[in-house]
């Protein structure tokens, strides 16, 4: 009797059992890629530079008011470049006070200090920039995940890719434009006071105070599809932002039937600030601005104590719902740009599945047939091994949660062709040993052991290529590499271990072995 037969049979049965367990039920266990089931694939770039610039702007404003509180007369404190603040004091006499103030801002390094001129620069350190950028990307991933979860997509993939990219895959999405708008919106909600001392005409002519800016209200007429832009002059400083929100709900707009509005509610801090702001500015207009667009600028009639407000803008129900989602999920820390987008319609996916399946079944069938014709019983054993190979391959994909893409299917088809190579190597070797006159038993032994070294060499080299492919590849190529890798590993098990086991069971157990069917 061959050695360890019981153990080996047990191992094979265990592998089959585990594979079946992972694979059942197949419809739910194997993830189909977007190219097979339709959906949207997005790669977003997080523009961390812009967010860092905004961060430095805020720091500059902070430093300026800190200096003024300390009694330092300031001529100018402003950002220069992306991450540097230049400060110009009114007179060099207050130099020491200014330095004391800026010492509190430890993430900035002082440069080009010129005491006589009363001028110095503060630069955000490289390390701090990297840390901030990293934070921004991580926050962006979180925020996008929140939004997608609230939007309701089955099995979304949202992952960070490289330094500043976010990969988003939404299978089965029907309306890609809407999904894109929902994900890509910065959703920075700001409340700013309308500057009632600067007439709009003067501002448009260029007479704009440093502390104010022009913001447009864009309204698209639903019938004529034309856009109307109304300019407003508002104070640059935001009194309150969306960060202080706790709730955002869709409501019917009571003043305009058929349209919808979003009701928002602030947290305790926001409520207090909102109360103070409305109390101090009765009679003025408060502009509600989202991503640089002015939505409305209602008059403040009295102090609003409860921390509630509404955003109106003649929204459709979908627009209002999506706006509520992005407000609840929070603003993106930095604007994002679409770097790559692939949308596959469901019908194309279904066609690809059909064609891919036909191709894979046909290519497997021809290989199976060939093996039986050429090697007879041994060929049949190799075919069973191939079937086991496929089973293990699919089970591994289910277990890893890997996604089956079209190139992935091609990879499987190719694996079938290459897995059979292993058996051909062994069988040819056995035939050769038989030709030089060895007994069937020793021919089988010699065939397997001699071929094994070659088989390991060939497998390792192809595995090396597959690993390199995986490391470098994006989506589809990665899928291909995964199936190649798993398929080749499985073929080591099935074509060598399993085939040998069957040979042992079929031939080696017999007391007298006259011939092998090979």
């Amino acid at each position: 009797m061959p050695k360890y037969l019981g153990w080996r049979v047990g191992l094979v049965l265990a592998v089959v059992a585990v594979s079946c367990w992972y694979l059942y039920p197949p419809r739910r266990t194997i993830n189909l890629g977007l190219d097979l089931q339709g959906g949207i694939h997005l790669v977003l770039g997080v523009e961390t530079d812009k967010a860092i610039a905004a961060h430095v702007d805020r720091a500059a404003a902070d430093i300026k008011s800190a200096l003024e509180r300390k009694g330092v007369a300031v001529a100018r404190v402003a950002r220069e470049g992306n991450a540097t603040i230049t400060a110009q004091l009114a007179s060099p006499q207050s130099w020491n006070d200014a330095i004391t103030v800026t010492n509190d801002y430890s993430t900035f390094e002082r440069r080009n200090a010129d005491q006589a001129a009363g001028r110095f620069q503060l630069a955000l350190s490289e390390r701090e920039q990297r840390r901030l950028g990293d934070d921004f990307v991580r926050q962006a991933v979180e925020t996008i995940r929140n939004r997608v979860d609230q939007f309701g997509v089955a099995e979304p993939t949202i992952t960070r890719q490289g330094d500043d990219r976010v990969l988003i895959q939404l299978p089965g999405i029907q309306d890609p434009e809407r999904a894109k708008a929902l994900i890509g919106k910065t959703a920075l909600l700001e409340f700013k006071l309308v500057d009632d001392r600067t007439p709009v005409e003067a501002a448009l002519a260029g007479q704009l105070p440093d502390t104010s800016e022009i913001i447009y209200q864009r309204r698209t007429d639903k019938d004529t599809k034309t856009e109307r832009r109304t300019p407003y002059v508002v104070h640059k400083r935001a009194l309150l932002t969306g960060a202080e929100l706790t709730r955002a709900e869709v409501q019917a707009d009571p003043n305009s039937p058929g349209n919808w509005q979003v009701a928002i509610e602030f947290n305790p801090v926001g409520t207090r600030i909102f109360g103070e702001v409305t109390e101090q500015n009765v009679g003025k207009q408060l502009a509600i601005i989202l991503d640089g667009n002015l939505y409305s600028a209602p008059n403040i009639n009295e102090r609003i104590p409860g921390g509630r407000a509404v955003i109106t803008g003649k929204f459709s129900i979908d627009e209002a719902r999506d706006l509520a989602i992005v407000l609840r999920a929070g603003a993106l820390p930095a604007p994002v740009a679409i770097l790559e987008e692939r949308t596959v319609g469901p019908s194309l996916g279904a066609d690809s599945v059909r064609q891919g399946m036909i191709a894979i079944v046909a290519s497997a069938a021809i290989v199976f047939l060939f093996m039986v014709v050429y090697y007879r019983l041994s060929g049949f054993i190799a075919d069973v091994a191939l079937g086991l190979n496929l089973l293990i391959l699919l089970a591994c994909m289910a277990a890893f949660g890997a996604t089956l893409t079209l190139p992935g299917i091609a990879g499987i088809a190719l694996t079938i062709g290459m897995a059979v190579d292993t058996n051909i190597l062994i069988f040819e070797r056995i035939r050769e040993e038989l030709r030089v006159g060895k007994t069937p038993r020793s021919a089988i032994d010699a065939g397997f052991s001699r071929a094994l070294r070659t088989i390991i060499d060939t497998h390792v080299t192809v595995l090396v290529t597959a690993a390199i492919l995986y490391n470098f590849g994006t989506g589809p190529v990665k899928g291909f590499a995964v199936s190649l890798f798993v398929g080749l590993s499985a073929s080591l098990f099935t074509a060598v271990f399993f085939t040998r086991l069957i040979f042992d069971v079929v031939y080696m157990g017999r007391r007298k072995l006259q011939a092998i069917s090979i």
Binding site: L339, E340, S363, V367, L406, A413, E428, D457
Partner: protein, 311 residues
């Protein structure tokens, strides 16, 4: 028992001078085609927008072009896709808001009633940075693959074998790229995947031959035979395996080519070419180079010894 070859004794290695000539001619044709026509890269590599649509009734390309030109997409490339009423429209990068091009193309086509009903099946947009990154990654991946192979073979066999195997792989890559260029196919991500598979396949074949050579060298039968003969024996002894494996893989590929649909066509085409050249290059590039390199080194050693003897 069906056998393709029974104890074959073809003189493969002896005819290597002719094969060198053939390899040179084929790679030259490939290189010239690459130099003159270049490779057409898919938007995966160049960036741009691709819209695939299926019409209920197939309009002429001119009609589609007219409505695209009216919308300002005169530079787009329009191609029939597959056998049926499908078209692929490719718009190069260039406008200031490239990520909206897909949407605007859709609108332009929807606005023209004479085109008839159609369904948008696929929209892809690849930004300039992503495309550029991918180009570099592709070159890097191929080079890294070759270095990996070189190191592994040099470690398991010897440096000559490693270098010759990589030259063979390089040969196969050039032939495949040349075939893509000659047939006006596009270099896309699946084509890249196929190319990398061919690298693995080609080297797989080469290793089988090397392994056999190494096994024979320690044996009785190798004595008294010169190196070229030994290499030829190894090639002959593994011939039936090489042919059988190539045949099965080749059959799988042909079926992919026939049934895989338009999406897998280019992928299968590269494999088709690659398997042929990969099988050929094992004997006539890798094995032949090792033989000539070994002779060259031996010749130098002999001359050096003579020089020493004279002195």
């Amino acid at each position: 028992m069906i056998e393709i070859f029974r104890n074959p004794h073809y003189d493969f290695i002896g005819k290597r001078k002719w094969a060198y000539l053939a390899s040179l001619v084929i790679t030259l044709i490939g290189l010239i085609s690459l130099a003159v026509q270049g490779l057409r890269y898919d938007i995966d590599f160049t960036g741009g927008t691709l819209v695939q649509l299926r019409f209920e009734e197939k309009p002429s390309i001119q009609k589609i072009r007219a409505s695209l030109t009216a919308a300002g997409f005169g530079e787009s490339v329009i191609q029939e896709f597959g056998e049926s009423r499908e078209y692929i429209i490719r718009v190069p990068l260039g406008s200031t808001t490239p990520e909206q091009v897909g949407r605007r193309v859709e609108q332009a086509l929807a606005a023209d009633p004479s085109l008839g009903k159609h369904e948008i099946r696929r929209v892809e947009f690849v930004g300039p940075q992503v495309g550029k990154d991918l180009q570099w990654q592709a070159i890097y991946a191929v080079l890294a693959g070759m270095v990996g192979i070189l190191l592994y073979i040099a470690l398991r066999f010897d440096l000559k074998g490693g270098v010759a195997a990589v030259v063979a792989v390089f040969h196969d890559v050039i032939v495949c790229l040349g075939a893509i260029s000659l047939t006006h196919r596009e270099f896309s991500l699946p084509v890249l995947a196929a190319l990398l598979t061919i690298i693995g396949y080609s080297v797989n074949d080469t290793i089988v031959a090397y392994d056999r050579l190494r096994e024979n060298r320690g044996k009785y039968g190798a004595r008294g035979r010169n190196f070229a003969e030994q290499m030829n024996d190894a090639v002959n002894q593994t011939l039936s395996r090489t042919v059988l494996t190539s045949l099965t893989t080749f059959m799988s590929t042909v079926i992919l080519l026939i049934f895989g649909g338009k999406v897998l066509e280019d992928f299968a085409f590269v494999l088709f070419i690659g398997i042929i050249t990969g099988t050929y290059s094992t004997t006539y590039v890798a094995a032949a180079l090792v033989v000539d390199w070994t002779y060259y080194v031996e010749g130098r050693v002999r001359r050096a010894k003579k020089a020493v003897a004279k002195a």
